[in-house]
Protein backbone atom coordinates (compact mmCIF):
# COMPACT_ATOMS: atom_id res chain seq x y z
CA UNK A 1 0.00 0.00 0.00
CA UNK A 2 1.26 3.47 -0.92
CA UNK A 3 2.40 6.06 1.58
CA UNK A 4 -0.27 8.39 2.99
CA UNK A 5 0.62 11.98 2.17
CA UNK A 6 -2.54 13.74 3.30
CA UNK A 7 -4.67 12.67 6.18
CA UNK A 8 -7.59 14.95 7.01
CA UNK A 9 -9.36 13.89 10.14
CA UNK A 10 -12.83 15.10 11.25
CA UNK A 11 -12.07 18.34 9.49
CA UNK A 12 -14.58 21.17 9.99
CA UNK A 13 -14.50 24.85 9.25
CA UNK A 14 -17.07 27.37 10.39
CA UNK A 15 -16.80 30.99 9.29
CA UNK A 16 -18.08 33.26 12.02
CA UNK A 17 -17.11 36.56 10.49
CA UNK A 18 -20.47 37.11 8.76
CA UNK A 19 -23.86 37.79 10.36
CA UNK A 20 -24.67 34.05 10.39
CA UNK A 21 -22.02 31.39 10.98
CA UNK A 22 -21.31 29.41 7.80
CA UNK A 23 -20.30 25.78 8.10
CA UNK A 24 -18.15 25.60 4.98
CA UNK A 25 -16.68 22.17 5.69
CA UNK A 26 -18.30 19.61 7.95
CA UNK A 27 -16.58 16.65 9.51
CA UNK A 28 -14.54 15.65 6.48
CA UNK A 29 -12.35 12.57 6.50
CA UNK A 30 -10.00 12.42 3.58
CA UNK A 31 -7.11 10.10 3.02
CA UNK A 32 -4.82 10.70 0.08
CA UNK A 33 -1.93 8.51 -0.91
CA UNK A 34 1.25 9.25 -2.79
CA UNK A 35 0.77 9.20 -6.54
CA UNK A 36 -2.93 9.97 -6.58
CA UNK A 37 -4.53 12.21 -9.19
CA UNK A 38 -7.61 13.40 -7.45
CA UNK A 39 -10.35 15.92 -8.28
CA UNK A 40 -12.45 17.77 -5.77
CA UNK A 41 -15.80 18.63 -7.30
CA UNK A 42 -19.10 20.08 -6.19
CA UNK A 43 -21.35 23.06 -6.69
CA UNK A 44 -20.18 26.56 -6.01
CA UNK A 45 -19.99 27.22 -2.31
CA UNK A 46 -19.72 23.55 -1.43
CA UNK A 47 -16.43 24.08 0.39
CA UNK A 48 -13.78 22.98 -2.13
CA UNK A 49 -11.54 26.00 -1.68
CA UNK A 50 -11.95 25.91 2.08
CA UNK A 51 -10.97 22.25 2.20
CA UNK A 52 -7.96 22.73 -0.07
CA UNK A 53 -6.78 25.72 1.97
CA UNK A 54 -6.91 23.70 5.17
CA UNK A 55 -5.06 20.79 3.59
CA UNK A 56 -2.46 23.24 2.30
CA UNK A 57 -1.95 24.86 5.68
CA UNK A 58 -3.27 28.19 4.48
CA UNK A 59 -6.35 28.14 6.66
CA UNK A 60 -6.88 26.77 10.12
CA UNK A 61 -9.65 24.25 10.73
CA UNK A 62 -12.20 24.97 13.43
CA UNK A 63 -12.13 21.33 14.35
CA UNK A 64 -10.15 18.26 13.38
CA UNK A 65 -6.63 17.98 12.14
CA UNK A 66 -4.51 17.74 9.05
CA UNK A 67 -1.50 15.43 8.98
CA UNK A 68 0.90 15.84 6.08
CA UNK A 69 3.22 12.89 5.56
CA UNK A 70 3.22 12.18 9.27
CA UNK A 71 3.43 15.80 10.44
CA UNK A 72 0.43 17.32 12.16
CA UNK A 73 0.24 20.88 10.84
CA UNK A 74 -2.81 21.98 12.82
CA UNK A 75 -1.88 24.77 15.18
CA UNK A 76 1.60 25.20 13.77
CA UNK A 77 3.19 28.66 14.29
CA UNK A 78 2.83 30.89 11.28
CA UNK A 79 6.47 31.22 10.22
CA UNK A 80 7.00 27.52 10.77
CA UNK A 81 3.96 26.82 8.65
CA UNK A 82 5.24 29.05 5.85
CA UNK A 83 8.48 27.12 5.89
CA UNK A 84 6.55 23.84 5.94
CA UNK A 85 4.56 24.88 2.89
CA UNK A 86 7.74 25.93 1.14
CA UNK A 87 9.30 22.52 1.61
CA UNK A 88 6.31 20.21 1.29
CA UNK A 89 3.46 21.62 -0.74
CA UNK A 90 3.22 22.96 -4.27
CA UNK A 91 0.46 25.46 -5.04
CA UNK A 92 -1.25 26.36 -8.28
CA UNK A 93 -3.93 29.00 -7.98
CA UNK A 94 -6.65 30.01 -10.35
CA UNK A 95 -4.80 33.16 -11.44
CA UNK A 96 -2.10 35.65 -10.49
CA UNK A 97 0.22 32.84 -9.63
CA UNK A 98 3.38 34.48 -10.84
CA UNK A 99 5.40 37.43 -9.65
CA UNK A 100 4.97 39.88 -12.53
CA UNK A 101 8.38 41.49 -12.13
CA UNK A 102 10.20 38.19 -12.41
CA UNK A 103 10.71 36.22 -15.61
CA UNK A 104 9.32 32.68 -15.96
CA UNK A 105 12.73 31.30 -15.05
CA UNK A 106 13.12 33.56 -12.06
CA UNK A 107 9.64 32.68 -10.82
CA UNK A 108 10.62 29.03 -10.76
CA UNK A 109 14.11 29.63 -9.41
CA UNK A 110 12.79 31.86 -6.64
CA UNK A 111 11.26 28.92 -4.77
CA UNK A 112 14.51 27.02 -4.89
CA UNK A 113 16.38 30.08 -3.71
CA UNK A 114 14.08 30.27 -0.71
CA UNK A 115 14.84 26.64 -0.05
CA UNK A 116 18.54 27.29 -0.26
CA UNK A 117 19.27 25.13 -3.27
CA UNK A 118 22.69 25.83 -4.77
CA UNK A 119 23.09 27.68 -8.01
CA UNK A 120 24.05 24.92 -10.42
CA UNK A 121 21.23 22.70 -9.32
CA UNK A 122 18.77 25.60 -9.57
CA UNK A 123 19.74 26.49 -13.10
CA UNK A 124 19.64 22.91 -14.23
CA UNK A 125 16.28 22.20 -12.61
CA UNK A 126 14.70 25.37 -14.00
CA UNK A 127 15.56 24.26 -17.51
CA UNK A 128 14.35 20.74 -16.86
CA UNK A 129 11.03 21.98 -15.44
CA UNK A 130 10.48 24.42 -18.30
CA UNK A 131 11.01 21.53 -20.67
CA UNK A 132 8.58 19.32 -18.77
CA UNK A 133 5.83 21.91 -19.06
CA UNK A 134 6.72 22.54 -22.69
CA UNK A 135 8.05 26.05 -22.30
CA UNK A 136 11.68 25.66 -23.26
CA UNK A 137 12.95 28.93 -24.71
CA UNK A 138 10.30 30.95 -22.90
CA UNK A 139 12.32 31.21 -19.71
CA UNK A 140 13.22 34.84 -20.02
CA UNK A 141 9.68 36.02 -20.72
CA UNK A 142 7.82 38.03 -18.13
CA UNK A 143 4.37 36.68 -17.16
CA UNK A 144 2.71 39.54 -19.03
CA UNK A 145 4.34 38.27 -22.22
CA UNK A 146 2.88 34.78 -21.77
CA UNK A 147 -0.61 33.50 -22.53
CA UNK A 148 -2.92 32.40 -19.71
CA UNK A 149 -2.19 28.74 -20.42
CA UNK A 150 1.54 29.33 -20.51
CA UNK A 151 1.36 31.20 -17.24
CA UNK A 152 -0.43 28.29 -15.59
CA UNK A 153 2.21 25.93 -16.93
CA UNK A 154 4.90 28.10 -15.37
CA UNK A 155 2.85 27.95 -12.16
CA UNK A 156 2.87 24.16 -12.32
CA UNK A 157 6.62 24.20 -12.91
CA UNK A 158 7.03 26.54 -9.95
CA UNK A 159 4.88 24.28 -7.78
CA UNK A 160 7.13 21.35 -8.66
CA UNK A 161 10.35 23.27 -8.21
CA UNK A 162 10.37 22.76 -4.48
CA UNK A 163 10.05 18.97 -4.91
CA UNK A 164 6.87 18.96 -2.84
CA UNK A 165 5.04 15.96 -1.41
CA UNK A 166 1.97 16.96 -3.40
CA UNK A 167 0.54 19.77 -5.50
CA UNK A 168 -2.70 21.55 -4.62
CA UNK A 169 -4.46 23.29 -7.47
CA UNK A 170 -7.64 25.25 -6.86
CA UNK A 171 -9.46 25.53 -10.17
CA UNK A 172 -6.26 25.77 -12.17
CA UNK A 173 -8.13 25.75 -15.48
CA UNK A 174 -10.94 28.14 -14.59
CA UNK A 175 -9.47 30.96 -16.63
CA UNK A 176 -8.45 28.83 -19.57
CA UNK A 177 -10.25 27.80 -22.74
CA UNK A 178 -10.88 24.08 -23.17
CA UNK A 179 -7.94 23.29 -25.45
CA UNK A 180 -5.52 25.07 -23.19
CA UNK A 181 -7.14 23.46 -20.18
CA UNK A 182 -6.72 20.02 -21.75
CA UNK A 183 -3.13 20.82 -22.47
CA UNK A 184 -2.46 21.78 -18.85
CA UNK A 185 -4.16 18.58 -17.69
CA UNK A 186 -1.96 16.57 -20.07
CA UNK A 187 1.10 18.02 -18.46
CA UNK A 188 -0.18 17.38 -14.94
CA UNK A 189 -1.13 13.83 -15.88
CA UNK A 190 2.23 13.20 -17.42
CA UNK A 191 4.03 14.48 -14.31
CA UNK A 192 1.76 12.27 -12.24
CA UNK A 193 2.51 9.20 -14.29
CA UNK A 194 6.18 9.74 -14.95
CA UNK A 195 7.28 11.18 -11.65
CA UNK A 196 4.54 9.92 -9.40
CA UNK A 197 3.68 13.44 -8.28
CA UNK A 198 0.46 13.63 -6.29
CA UNK A 199 -2.05 16.16 -7.59
CA UNK A 200 -5.14 17.38 -5.75
CA UNK A 201 -7.23 19.79 -7.75
CA UNK A 202 -10.66 21.30 -7.56
CA UNK A 203 -12.72 21.99 -10.66
CA UNK A 204 -16.13 22.59 -12.17
CA UNK A 205 -15.07 21.54 -15.61
CA UNK A 206 -16.54 18.14 -16.62
CA UNK A 207 -13.69 17.54 -19.10
CA UNK A 208 -11.21 18.01 -16.31
CA UNK A 209 -13.21 15.76 -14.01
CA UNK A 210 -13.02 13.03 -16.66
CA UNK A 211 -9.27 12.98 -16.40
CA UNK A 212 -9.17 12.34 -12.66
CA UNK A 213 -8.76 8.82 -11.36
CA UNK A 214 -10.45 9.60 -8.10
CA UNK A 215 -13.29 12.10 -7.72
CA UNK A 216 -14.41 13.45 -4.37
CA UNK A 217 -17.74 15.24 -4.49
CA UNK A 218 -18.54 17.82 -1.88
CA UNK A 219 -22.03 19.09 -1.18
CA UNK A 220 -22.67 21.66 1.51
CA UNK A 221 -19.30 21.01 3.03
CA UNK A 222 -19.76 17.27 3.33
CA UNK A 223 -18.29 14.51 1.23
CA UNK A 224 -21.17 13.05 -0.72
CA UNK A 225 -19.27 10.71 -2.98
CA UNK A 226 -15.70 9.45 -3.10
CA UNK A 227 -15.09 7.13 -6.06
CA UNK A 228 -12.38 5.71 -8.22
CA UNK A 229 -13.37 6.42 -11.81
CA UNK A 230 -10.62 5.42 -14.20
CA UNK A 231 -8.36 2.43 -14.32
CA UNK A 232 -5.78 2.80 -11.62
CA UNK A 233 -2.22 3.18 -12.83
CA UNK A 234 -0.14 0.08 -13.09
CA UNK A 235 3.55 0.82 -12.61
Amino acid sequence: MARTVIDAHELSKTYTEGPVPVEAVKDVHLHIEAGEFIALVGPSGSGKTTLLNMIGGLDEPTKGKVVIDGTDITGMKENKLIDFRLRNIGFVFQAYNLIPVLTAEENIEFIMLLQGTDKDERKQRVQQLLEEVGLQGKGSSRPSELSGGQQQRVAVARALASKPKFVLADEPTANLDSTTAANLLDIMEKLNKEEGMTFVFSTHDPRVIQRARRVVTLVDGEIEKDEMVNEPMVD
Partner: protein, 404 residues
Protein backbone atom coordinates in the same frame (compact mmCIF):
# COMPACT_ATOMS: atom_id res chain seq x y z
CA UNK B 1 19.31 37.78 -3.68
CA UNK B 2 16.03 37.50 -5.50
CA UNK B 3 14.22 39.68 -2.93
CA UNK B 4 16.54 42.52 -3.86
CA UNK B 5 15.68 42.06 -7.50
CA UNK B 6 11.96 41.95 -6.81
CA UNK B 7 12.14 45.07 -4.62
CA UNK B 8 14.10 46.98 -7.22
CA UNK B 9 11.83 45.98 -10.10
CA UNK B 10 8.73 46.70 -8.05
CA UNK B 11 9.74 50.35 -7.89
CA UNK B 12 9.49 50.60 -11.65
CA UNK B 13 6.09 48.93 -11.94
CA UNK B 14 4.28 52.14 -11.40
CA UNK B 15 6.86 54.33 -12.99
CA UNK B 16 5.01 57.62 -12.70
CA UNK B 17 4.19 57.17 -9.06
CA UNK B 18 7.73 56.21 -8.14
CA UNK B 19 9.21 59.01 -10.20
CA UNK B 20 6.97 61.56 -8.53
CA UNK B 21 8.11 60.31 -5.15
CA UNK B 22 11.75 60.23 -6.18
CA UNK B 23 11.46 63.71 -7.60
CA UNK B 24 9.99 65.03 -4.39
CA UNK B 25 12.89 63.52 -2.47
CA UNK B 26 15.31 65.04 -4.98
CA UNK B 27 13.77 68.48 -4.61
CA UNK B 28 13.50 68.22 -0.85
CA UNK B 29 17.13 67.22 -0.45
CA UNK B 30 18.30 69.76 -2.97
CA UNK B 31 16.50 72.56 -1.20
CA UNK B 32 17.49 71.35 2.25
CA UNK B 33 21.16 70.94 1.44
CA UNK B 34 21.30 74.25 -0.38
CA UNK B 35 19.66 76.13 2.45
CA UNK B 36 22.20 74.64 4.81
CA UNK B 37 25.05 75.53 2.48
CA UNK B 38 23.75 79.07 2.21
CA UNK B 39 23.42 79.39 5.94
CA UNK B 40 26.82 77.87 6.56
CA UNK B 41 28.42 80.11 3.93
CA UNK B 42 26.92 83.13 5.62
CA UNK B 43 27.90 82.05 9.13
CA UNK B 44 31.36 80.96 8.17
CA UNK B 45 32.02 84.26 6.49
CA UNK B 46 30.93 86.11 9.56
CA UNK B 47 33.18 83.98 11.69
CA UNK B 48 36.09 84.26 9.27
CA UNK B 49 35.65 88.01 8.91
CA UNK B 50 35.58 88.52 12.63
CA UNK B 51 38.63 86.35 13.13
CA UNK B 52 40.44 87.92 10.23
CA UNK B 53 39.67 91.54 11.00
CA UNK B 54 39.37 91.69 14.70
CA UNK B 55 39.69 88.74 17.01
CA UNK B 56 42.38 86.65 15.33
CA UNK B 57 42.67 83.09 16.59
CA UNK B 58 44.10 83.62 20.03
CA UNK B 59 44.54 86.65 22.29
CA UNK B 60 46.65 87.34 25.37
CA UNK B 61 45.48 89.72 28.09
CA UNK B 62 46.14 90.58 31.69
CA UNK B 63 43.64 88.42 33.62
CA UNK B 64 41.74 91.51 34.83
CA UNK B 65 41.91 93.59 31.71
CA UNK B 66 38.74 92.41 29.99
CA UNK B 67 36.61 93.08 33.03
CA UNK B 68 36.67 96.87 32.79
CA UNK B 69 39.50 97.72 30.42
CA UNK B 70 41.60 99.69 32.87
CA UNK B 71 44.85 100.96 31.39
CA UNK B 72 46.95 99.70 34.29
CA UNK B 73 46.31 96.05 33.45
CA UNK B 74 49.10 95.48 30.97
CA UNK B 75 50.38 92.00 30.18
CA UNK B 76 52.97 91.22 32.82
CA UNK B 77 55.30 89.13 30.68
CA UNK B 78 54.50 90.72 27.32
CA UNK B 79 58.11 90.73 26.14
CA UNK B 80 58.49 87.06 26.92
CA UNK B 81 55.27 86.22 25.05
CA UNK B 82 56.37 88.18 21.98
CA UNK B 83 59.79 86.56 22.04
CA UNK B 84 58.13 83.14 22.12
CA UNK B 85 55.69 83.99 19.36
CA UNK B 86 58.53 85.01 17.09
CA UNK B 87 60.05 81.53 17.50
CA UNK B 88 56.80 79.59 17.13
CA UNK B 89 56.28 77.97 13.74
CA UNK B 90 52.51 77.73 14.28
CA UNK B 91 52.26 81.52 14.36
CA UNK B 92 51.45 83.22 11.11
CA UNK B 93 51.21 86.78 12.41
CA UNK B 94 50.70 88.64 15.64
CA UNK B 95 49.99 92.19 16.74
CA UNK B 96 50.68 93.94 20.03
CA UNK B 97 47.97 96.36 20.94
CA UNK B 98 47.39 99.03 23.52
CA UNK B 99 43.66 99.18 24.02
CA UNK B 100 41.54 101.91 25.51
CA UNK B 101 37.85 102.70 25.73
CA UNK B 102 37.10 106.26 24.76
CA UNK B 103 34.46 108.78 23.77
CA UNK B 104 35.08 110.12 20.30
CA UNK B 105 33.59 113.44 19.29
CA UNK B 106 33.59 115.35 16.04
CA UNK B 107 32.28 118.83 15.53
CA UNK B 108 28.72 117.54 15.38
CA UNK B 109 28.44 114.20 17.22
CA UNK B 110 29.99 111.86 19.71
CA UNK B 111 30.07 108.11 20.25
CA UNK B 112 31.81 105.38 22.24
CA UNK B 113 34.79 103.76 20.56
CA UNK B 114 37.76 101.51 21.21
CA UNK B 115 41.16 103.02 20.58
CA UNK B 116 43.76 100.55 19.39
CA UNK B 117 47.37 101.58 19.73
CA UNK B 118 49.16 99.46 17.16
CA UNK B 119 52.44 98.95 15.41
CA UNK B 120 51.22 99.63 11.85
CA UNK B 121 53.24 96.89 10.13
CA UNK B 122 52.25 94.29 12.69
CA UNK B 123 48.58 95.10 12.47
CA UNK B 124 48.68 95.14 8.70
CA UNK B 125 50.33 91.72 8.65
CA UNK B 126 47.64 90.42 10.97
CA UNK B 127 44.45 91.97 9.60
CA UNK B 128 45.44 93.44 6.24
CA UNK B 129 44.27 96.82 7.46
CA UNK B 130 46.26 98.79 4.92
CA UNK B 131 44.46 97.24 1.97
CA UNK B 132 41.10 98.07 3.44
CA UNK B 133 41.70 101.79 3.21
CA UNK B 134 39.24 103.56 0.93
CA UNK B 135 40.52 107.07 1.57
CA UNK B 136 43.67 108.76 2.85
CA UNK B 137 46.89 107.09 3.98
CA UNK B 138 47.89 104.34 6.35
CA UNK B 139 49.87 106.34 8.95
CA UNK B 140 52.28 108.86 7.43
CA UNK B 141 54.39 109.11 10.57
CA UNK B 142 52.95 112.33 11.98
CA UNK B 143 51.95 112.51 15.60
CA UNK B 144 48.44 111.58 16.76
CA UNK B 145 47.19 110.24 13.48
CA UNK B 146 44.24 107.82 13.39
CA UNK B 147 42.70 105.43 10.94
CA UNK B 148 38.94 105.08 11.39
CA UNK B 149 36.24 102.81 10.07
CA UNK B 150 33.99 104.03 7.30
CA UNK B 151 30.88 103.50 9.34
CA UNK B 152 32.25 105.63 12.17
CA UNK B 153 33.38 108.27 9.70
CA UNK B 154 29.84 108.45 8.34
CA UNK B 155 28.36 108.61 11.80
CA UNK B 156 30.60 111.41 12.99
CA UNK B 157 30.74 113.14 9.58
CA UNK B 158 34.49 112.64 9.45
CA UNK B 159 36.78 112.83 6.48
CA UNK B 160 40.49 112.59 5.85
CA UNK B 161 42.39 115.43 7.56
CA UNK B 162 39.40 116.19 9.81
CA UNK B 163 39.89 116.33 13.54
CA UNK B 164 38.35 114.07 16.14
CA UNK B 165 38.54 114.54 19.89
CA UNK B 166 38.91 111.48 22.07
CA UNK B 167 38.40 111.45 25.82
CA UNK B 168 39.55 108.62 28.07
CA UNK B 169 41.18 107.76 31.38
CA UNK B 170 44.92 107.33 31.61
CA UNK B 171 46.79 104.85 33.74
CA UNK B 172 46.35 107.00 36.85
CA UNK B 173 42.63 107.33 36.25
CA UNK B 174 42.96 110.95 35.11
CA UNK B 175 40.72 112.09 32.28
CA UNK B 176 42.65 112.85 29.12
CA UNK B 177 41.26 114.66 26.12
CA UNK B 178 43.21 114.75 22.92
CA UNK B 179 42.65 115.95 19.37
CA UNK B 180 43.49 113.36 16.74
CA UNK B 181 43.66 113.77 13.00
CA UNK B 182 42.15 111.29 10.55
CA UNK B 183 44.80 110.03 8.16
CA UNK B 184 42.84 107.18 6.59
CA UNK B 185 39.41 105.56 6.41
CA UNK B 186 38.99 101.80 6.09
CA UNK B 187 36.02 99.72 5.05
CA UNK B 188 35.33 96.07 5.79
CA UNK B 189 32.61 93.70 4.65
CA UNK B 190 31.30 93.65 8.14
CA UNK B 191 30.22 97.08 9.24
CA UNK B 192 29.63 96.17 12.84
CA UNK B 193 33.36 95.74 13.24
CA UNK B 194 34.37 99.06 11.78
CA UNK B 195 31.82 101.09 13.64
CA UNK B 196 33.58 101.29 16.96
CA UNK B 197 37.24 101.02 16.03
CA UNK B 198 39.93 103.65 15.85
CA UNK B 199 43.56 102.74 15.17
CA UNK B 200 46.47 104.92 16.16
CA UNK B 201 50.22 104.56 16.53
CA UNK B 202 51.08 102.62 19.65
CA UNK B 203 53.76 105.12 20.72
CA UNK B 204 51.21 107.95 20.66
CA UNK B 205 48.60 106.11 22.68
CA UNK B 206 51.11 104.72 25.19
CA UNK B 207 52.39 108.24 25.81
CA UNK B 208 48.88 109.56 26.38
CA UNK B 209 47.97 106.70 28.70
CA UNK B 210 51.27 106.73 30.50
CA UNK B 211 51.65 102.96 30.17
CA UNK B 212 55.24 103.04 28.91
CA UNK B 213 56.06 99.82 27.08
CA UNK B 214 53.03 98.04 28.47
CA UNK B 215 50.77 96.09 26.11
CA UNK B 216 47.12 95.22 26.80
CA UNK B 217 46.48 92.73 24.08
CA UNK B 218 48.44 90.41 21.83
CA UNK B 219 46.39 89.00 18.97
CA UNK B 220 47.77 85.94 17.18
CA UNK B 221 46.83 84.34 13.89
CA UNK B 222 47.89 80.73 13.42
CA UNK B 223 48.97 79.16 10.17
CA UNK B 224 46.48 76.32 10.61
CA UNK B 225 43.07 77.12 12.05
CA UNK B 226 42.58 73.47 13.04
CA UNK B 227 45.30 73.91 15.65
CA UNK B 228 43.61 76.72 17.56
CA UNK B 229 42.32 74.63 20.44
CA UNK B 230 45.52 72.67 20.86
CA UNK B 231 47.76 75.72 20.73
CA UNK B 232 45.51 77.65 23.10
CA UNK B 233 45.75 74.85 25.64
CA UNK B 234 49.51 74.72 25.27
CA UNK B 235 49.91 78.47 25.76
CA UNK B 236 47.59 78.46 28.75
CA UNK B 237 50.13 76.19 30.38
CA UNK B 238 53.13 78.12 29.11
CA UNK B 239 51.87 81.52 30.30
CA UNK B 240 49.90 80.97 33.47
CA UNK B 241 50.16 84.66 34.42
CA UNK B 242 48.11 85.74 31.39
CA UNK B 243 44.66 85.13 30.05
CA UNK B 244 45.09 83.11 26.88
CA UNK B 245 41.82 82.75 25.02
CA UNK B 246 40.81 81.39 21.63
CA UNK B 247 38.25 83.18 19.49
CA UNK B 248 35.63 80.77 20.78
CA UNK B 249 36.19 82.01 24.29
CA UNK B 250 36.52 85.62 23.22
CA UNK B 251 33.27 85.58 21.30
CA UNK B 252 30.75 83.06 22.60
CA UNK B 253 28.24 84.22 19.95
CA UNK B 254 30.52 83.11 17.14
CA UNK B 255 31.16 79.84 18.83
CA UNK B 256 27.45 79.27 19.17
CA UNK B 257 26.96 79.91 15.46
CA UNK B 258 29.53 77.29 14.56
CA UNK B 259 28.53 74.76 17.15
CA UNK B 260 24.80 74.97 16.64
CA UNK B 261 25.06 74.53 12.89
CA UNK B 262 24.65 70.78 13.09
CA UNK B 263 21.58 71.15 15.26
CA UNK B 264 20.04 73.57 12.80
CA UNK B 265 20.83 71.17 10.02
CA UNK B 266 19.14 68.26 11.76
CA UNK B 267 16.09 70.39 12.45
CA UNK B 268 15.71 71.78 8.94
CA UNK B 269 16.44 68.52 7.13
CA UNK B 270 14.27 66.77 9.69
CA UNK B 271 11.31 68.98 8.90
CA UNK B 272 11.71 68.41 5.17
CA UNK B 273 12.03 64.67 5.71
CA UNK B 274 8.98 64.64 7.92
CA UNK B 275 6.96 66.05 5.05
CA UNK B 276 8.48 63.50 2.67
CA UNK B 277 7.78 60.73 5.16
CA UNK B 278 4.07 60.98 4.60
CA UNK B 279 4.51 60.87 0.85
CA UNK B 280 6.61 57.75 1.16
CA UNK B 281 4.19 56.05 3.52
CA UNK B 282 1.27 56.86 1.28
CA UNK B 283 2.96 55.59 -1.85
CA UNK B 284 4.12 52.39 -0.22
CA UNK B 285 0.70 51.72 1.26
CA UNK B 286 -0.84 52.11 -2.17
CA UNK B 287 1.76 49.82 -3.67
CA UNK B 288 1.01 47.15 -1.08
CA UNK B 289 -2.72 47.45 -1.45
CA UNK B 290 -2.37 46.92 -5.17
CA UNK B 291 -0.27 43.87 -4.59
CA UNK B 292 -2.43 42.10 -2.03
CA UNK B 293 -2.93 39.04 -4.23
CA UNK B 294 0.69 38.81 -5.18
CA UNK B 295 1.80 39.09 -1.57
CA UNK B 296 -0.76 36.42 -0.73
CA UNK B 297 0.72 34.09 -3.33
CA UNK B 298 4.24 34.84 -2.13
CA UNK B 299 3.36 34.00 1.45
CA UNK B 300 1.45 30.90 0.37
CA UNK B 301 4.34 29.46 -1.55
CA UNK B 302 6.86 30.11 1.16
CA UNK B 303 8.07 33.70 1.56
CA UNK B 304 8.21 34.17 5.31
CA UNK B 305 7.29 37.30 7.22
CA UNK B 306 10.83 38.48 7.73
CA UNK B 307 11.46 38.33 4.02
CA UNK B 308 8.22 40.12 3.16
CA UNK B 309 9.24 42.81 5.64
CA UNK B 310 12.72 43.10 4.17
CA UNK B 311 11.31 43.26 0.66
CA UNK B 312 9.12 46.24 1.47
CA UNK B 313 11.89 47.88 3.48
CA UNK B 314 14.28 47.50 0.57
CA UNK B 315 11.79 48.92 -1.86
CA UNK B 316 11.45 52.07 0.22
CA UNK B 317 15.16 52.38 0.81
CA UNK B 318 15.84 52.00 -2.91
CA UNK B 319 13.52 54.89 -3.65
CA UNK B 320 15.36 56.99 -1.06
CA UNK B 321 18.70 55.85 -2.42
CA UNK B 322 17.79 56.99 -5.90
CA UNK B 323 16.25 60.29 -4.82
CA UNK B 324 18.57 61.24 -1.95
CA UNK B 325 21.95 61.13 -3.70
CA UNK B 326 20.46 62.70 -6.83
CA UNK B 327 19.13 65.62 -4.79
CA UNK B 328 22.42 65.96 -2.96
CA UNK B 329 24.38 65.84 -6.19
CA UNK B 330 22.17 68.59 -7.54
CA UNK B 331 22.70 70.57 -4.34
CA UNK B 332 26.45 70.00 -4.55
CA UNK B 333 26.51 71.35 -8.12
CA UNK B 334 24.45 74.36 -7.12
CA UNK B 335 26.68 75.00 -4.14
CA UNK B 336 29.87 74.72 -6.20
CA UNK B 337 28.43 77.06 -8.79
CA UNK B 338 27.23 79.69 -6.38
CA UNK B 339 30.28 79.27 -4.18
CA UNK B 340 32.64 80.57 -6.81
CA UNK B 341 30.39 83.38 -8.00
CA UNK B 342 28.74 84.21 -4.71
CA UNK B 343 25.15 85.27 -4.26
CA UNK B 344 24.83 89.04 -4.16
CA UNK B 345 22.34 90.13 -1.57
CA UNK B 346 23.30 93.80 -1.67
CA UNK B 347 19.78 94.62 -2.80
CA UNK B 348 18.50 93.45 0.55
CA UNK B 349 21.73 93.62 2.46
CA UNK B 350 21.40 96.88 4.39
CA UNK B 351 20.06 94.92 7.29
CA UNK B 352 22.54 92.10 6.90
CA UNK B 353 25.63 94.25 7.22
CA UNK B 354 24.26 95.79 10.37
CA UNK B 355 24.14 92.36 11.92
CA UNK B 356 27.65 91.57 10.90
CA UNK B 357 26.81 89.52 7.81
CA UNK B 358 28.46 90.19 4.49
CA UNK B 359 26.35 91.19 1.51
CA UNK B 360 27.73 88.53 -0.82
CA UNK B 361 27.15 85.02 0.39
CA UNK B 362 29.34 82.14 -0.74
CA UNK B 363 27.38 78.94 -0.02
CA UNK B 364 29.51 76.13 1.27
CA UNK B 365 28.86 72.72 2.78
CA UNK B 366 31.32 70.15 4.03
CA UNK B 367 31.29 66.60 2.64
CA UNK B 368 30.47 65.23 6.05
CA UNK B 369 27.27 67.28 6.06
CA UNK B 370 26.19 65.81 2.74
CA UNK B 371 26.89 62.42 4.19
CA UNK B 372 24.88 63.13 7.32
CA UNK B 373 21.95 64.25 5.21
CA UNK B 374 22.12 61.07 3.16
CA UNK B 375 22.09 58.98 6.32
CA UNK B 376 19.07 60.93 7.50
CA UNK B 377 17.26 60.27 4.21
CA UNK B 378 17.87 56.55 4.43
CA UNK B 379 16.88 56.51 8.08
CA UNK B 380 13.67 58.35 7.22
CA UNK B 381 12.94 55.85 4.46
CA UNK B 382 13.45 52.99 6.88
CA UNK B 383 11.07 54.58 9.35
CA UNK B 384 8.56 55.27 6.60
CA UNK B 385 8.68 51.68 5.41
CA UNK B 386 7.87 50.18 8.77
CA UNK B 387 4.20 51.13 8.68
CA UNK B 388 3.47 49.75 5.19
CA UNK B 389 5.56 46.68 5.93
CA UNK B 390 3.57 45.98 9.09
CA UNK B 391 0.48 46.33 7.01
CA UNK B 392 1.75 43.73 4.60
CA UNK B 393 2.53 41.37 7.44
CA UNK B 394 -1.04 41.59 8.65
CA UNK B 395 -2.23 40.17 5.33
CA UNK B 396 -3.50 36.63 5.65
CA UNK B 397 -2.59 34.54 2.65
CA UNK B 398 -6.04 32.91 2.62
CA UNK B 399 -7.82 36.23 2.44
CA UNK B 400 -5.47 37.54 -0.21
CA UNK B 401 -5.90 34.35 -2.21
CA UNK B 402 -9.69 34.45 -1.85
CA UNK B 403 -9.66 37.71 -3.76
CA UNK B 404 -8.33 35.93 -6.83
Amino acid sequence: MMILKIAWRNIWRNRTRSLVLILSIVLGMWAGAFIMAFYWGMSKQQVDDTIQQNLSHIQFHHPDFRENFEAKYTIADGDQVVADLQQDKEVKAYSERVVCMAMAASASKSTGVTLYGIVPEQEDALTGLKEKLIAGDYFTGKKNEVVVGNKLAEKLHLDVRKKIVCTFQDEQGEIVSVALRVSGIFKTRNSRLEEGMIYMQQTDLSALLGTGNGIHEIAVLLADDQQVDAVTDQWKQDFPADDVESWKELSPELRLIVESFNQYMFIIIGIILLALLFGIINTMLMAILERTKELGVLMSVGLNKTKVFIMILLETVFIALVGGPLGLLLAWCTVQLTHSSGIDLSMYSKGLEEFGYASIVYPELGMSSYFSILIMVVAAALIASVFPAMRALKLKPVEAIRKI
